[in-house]
Symmetry: C2
Subunit: 317 residues, 2 copies
């Protein structure tokens, strides 16, 4: 008898295939588990898989009295109430680093696209305005990467990979993180100082209560009118309303965003702007990073069912 695993968030079917080969899946697909399954079905569920950003509190955990492990698909676990899990003796696992290269790649993609105004450029060609030599203020030459100061906020696995990629563009790289790391980039003791120095701010910090709205109107003002902000972390790290205002009145030059305050959704005020590049939270969305994340999920689940410690465990408090 395969073990039962509840799938809590809504995932594309293709991402669940390998789990289905090993376990009996109860797929709630983003709905409340007790709206989809009877309490009899939920009894005996000892493990669940969730997306780290999906809110998951004690009440949902209590629907499965035998729950022993919550496994997040991906690096983040900001939606999981860790205190509630800890109180119930539920372990939490994730997939650290499995998607780091893929997420760092999207960060650089967004950085290059916003600073070089790639969407405007593509539209200029497709619309025929280029052939017609129609003047376009948005197509004026912009500062490039050579010698540009790039600030990386957060120096975890993703931040380090962003820094390594960005440095190859002959830029100067600086970073702010709670502590200094053994990396060949200039350290800034505060986000304010980093932002004063840099003209592109790459947000790669782990989301949490301490980083909520860390990038606010004041930080954006410090970034300045040649400045760009790129976010591949979580929407909560940036005050989205302040960002829209700063983009609309050109307090900053542009933004590249893979994450938003309320997903899956980008507000009309943001999508109407010409100086943003938007992607639908696809940072970790490559074939190889999905395989790597699934490897972590399977390793966590198999260890749990074998009564062993999780190989990729989130430390609870």
């Amino acid at each position: 008898m395969p073990e039962k695993v509840l799938i809590y968030s809504r995932f594309p079917k293709a991402q669940m295939v390998r789990f289905g080969e090993r376990f009996e899946l109860l797929n709630a697909a983003g709905q409340a588990p007790d709206a989809v399954f009877s309490s009899q079905q939920l009894a005996g569920v000892r493990a669940m898989v969730t997306a780290g950003a999906t809110p998951l509190g004690g009440e949902a955990m209590d629907l499965m009295p035998d729950l022993g492990v919550i496994v997040c698909y991906g690096t983040g676990y900001d939606g999981v109430d860790l205190a509630a899990a800890s109180k119930r003796g539920i372990a939490v696992g994730h997939s650290p680093g499995a998607n780091a290269a893929s997420v760092a790649d999207i960060a650089v993609t967004l950085m290059l696209a916003t600073t070089r105004r790639l969407l405007v450029a593509d539209d200029y060609v497709r619309s025929g305005n280029w052939a017609a030599a129609k003047p376009s203020p948005m197509m004026r030459p912009q500062p490039g990467m050579l010698g540009r100061r790039i600030g990386v906020y957060g120096m975890g696995e993703i931040g380090r990979k962003i820094a390594a990629r960005v440095a190859a563009f002959e830029t100067e790289v600086g970073y702010f993180s709670r502590s200094r790391h053994d990396v060949p980039y200039r350290y800034f003791p505060t986000l304010e100082a980093l932002t004063e120095w840099c003209s592109v701010l790459m947000v790669a910090v782990r989301a949490g209560a301490d980083t909520n709205h860390a990038v606010d109107a004041d930080i954006l003002r410090k970034l300045g009118k040649d400045g760009h902000v790129v976010n591949i972390s979580r929407g909560s790290v940036i005050d989205q309303k302040a960002l829209v205002a700063a983009l609309a009145d050109q307090t900053i030059a542009g933004a590249g965003l893979d994450v938003y305050e309320k997903e899956p959704h980008a507000p009309d005020a943001l999508t109407a702007l010409p100086n943003v590049v938007l992607s639908p939270h696809i940072g970790g969305h490559t074939l190889e990073s999905h395989v790597a994340m699934q490897d972590c999920v399977i390793a966590n689940l198999e260890a749990f069912f074998a009564g062993k410690p999780l190989p990729y465990e989130v430390k609870l408090g």
Copy 2:
């Protein structure tokens, strides 16, 4: 009396300001010089500035009997009939490397945008299809950069800078060039062999009769259905009709193009495709590369008028 300099191609005014401070400019702005200026005005013109891709043959040179130097704004000089210049004792100058970082950056921008389908992603967010969870086959996960084989065609200054940037994405880099270079990338003796091996082909070779349509239907077939081609060199290097066909029937996955067979123009068959990213020949189009290219033009002109050898000279045959 400042020396007269004929401006042959059509350039944005902002790019001519520094030349105007030093020389008396006769701006033909892309028209035939004798349609804009009298033969009296053209007499005494000893120098001209042109865009390297603009066709410039012996007949145009003969409109200025005193012409002694043709200075190309940028790296390329493929439009200039070098044999005709040589025959007339006219020196040819260019701006080698001045825009190499900027062009390499656009190459990587296009590579990342086409492989990660950035335009499709942005449209998916802006259209509201993401919020509506509308299925999109174009949004399926694609291979990322990690371990991907990137082939660089041409190992000049731009090719080397492309390779250095691309290597930072944890890829494998190979190249084909007429000769082996002292670089830490795998050498392939033919374009065919490089294309069989790689899944992204970065075209960075100098344009000329020998590279005309070097990337043809056969090469595109070898690139294969997961393959992408990026061109920041000249449109002439790729058989554009074969490329459109390969993109339309998915012989290859996608393309990122900064250059086209007939500029400024991208054919409707190309602009209608969802699996391309198009930019209007903006490779060298950053503030700092324009300054660097202008520095080269001014250095070439001042040396010529002082009777000295050009510091940035094109070797004629």
